[in-house]
């Protein structure tokens, strides 16, 4: 269990950040994070634990959940309701929340690609293999998603 404990400590924050980008929902991200670590441990055991497998499992968990619950279309659940000291990192959190909110306005494939790229776990080639498009296409779409996110954030600032 030492191996699993280390693996969990090393990757929990990065995985949670990935899931927040994908769902924009803190509690759901926590649930999916637990589920991902659990599935990884069950499927691959302590000796087979790899970050790339963990993130693949997490990505599948997001899509499984989306299929069952239509997470993208539900309403009434506020983004990122988190416990914690409200004064702590307040401004940074506000900015971060703006980014997460804007992420949810991207098209699903744009959000998927940009979230994967931002994990720093996968190369473009590996992302291409995972989502089933060419590496050149990943290059174009990741940048397009980044530019669209920037535009959304700028529009948000003007309207805010």
């Amino acid at each position: 269990m030492i191996v699993f404990a280390d693996f969990y400590r090393d990757h929990r924050d990065r995985l949670l950040a990935y899931l927040l980008r994908m769902t924009g929902d803190y509690e759901l991200s926590c649930d999916l994070m637990q589920e991902s670590f659990t599935r990884c441990l069950e499927r691959y055991g302590c000796k087979g634990l790899k970050p790339s497998l963990l993130f693949t499992v997490a990505r599948n968990a997001v899509y499984d959940h989306g299929r069952h619950c239509q997470v993208r279309h539900r309403s009434g659940r506020k983004l990122c309701q988190v416990p914690g000291n409200p004064e702590e990192h307040h401004l940074l959190r506000e900015e971060y929340q703006r980014v997460l909110t804007a992420m949810q306005q991207l098209e699903p494939d744009e959000k998927d690609l940009l979230s994967l790229a931002a994990t720093s776990i996968y190369s473009y080639r590996e992302i291409a293999q995972q989502v089933g498009i060419s590496e050149a296409n990943v290059k174009v779409k990741v940048h397009r998603a980044r530019m669209k996110l920037k535009k959304l954030l700028e529009e948000g600032k003007h309207h805010g």
């Binding site: 699993f4 969990y8 803190y26 069952h68 409200p86 790229a117 473009y124 290059k139 940048h143």
Partner: protein, 195 residues
Amino acid sequence: MDEIISMFIDNELSIDDKMALVKRLKVDPEFFSETLALLEQDKLLRAEGLYPAPLLAVKAPGAVPGRLQGFLKDFFRPLVGPVGVMAVVVMVVLGVVLAHRPGPPAGVCPSRLVVYQPEAREVAVAGAFTGWEAVSMHAAGSSGYWEIRLDIPRGEHRFVYIADGHRRFADPTILTREQDDFGGENSILIVGQAI
């Protein structure tokens, strides 16, 4: 489009590409501003640790008796393949809830138990921390998750989930278990000692 900026951010550039990028940054102020803006955006996008990761309840290494370790190995070996047959993914989240709640008594951890049971009509938890009374969990919308928040004293606790009033099952995410007096299994939860 200037995909080269994203390739730079995502560490996809060759050394020649990097040289070309630096040269362009020097002569093109607009390109420089856009690159910097996207870097700042990505710094936020990649931020980690702004939100607390949930604690995962796993027995501390070395704390499991040898006989129990052998039992656990035997238990998990058949789970590796046909775990999907169980049709459940069970999770325990021990989240420290600091906001919106009055402070708990000393030595007590506000905890959140979550279990995925999409087929169940009702789910309860019973354990040492409930006096072995079955306490109903709440359905988290239509997600299939059931959850409950409890103030659990620090220390070691046995507990079990009960679906539909009769189906008792331990939590597979907690590797420490022991057989109960009725031929079933209880999970052993260590509160205040999580990874």
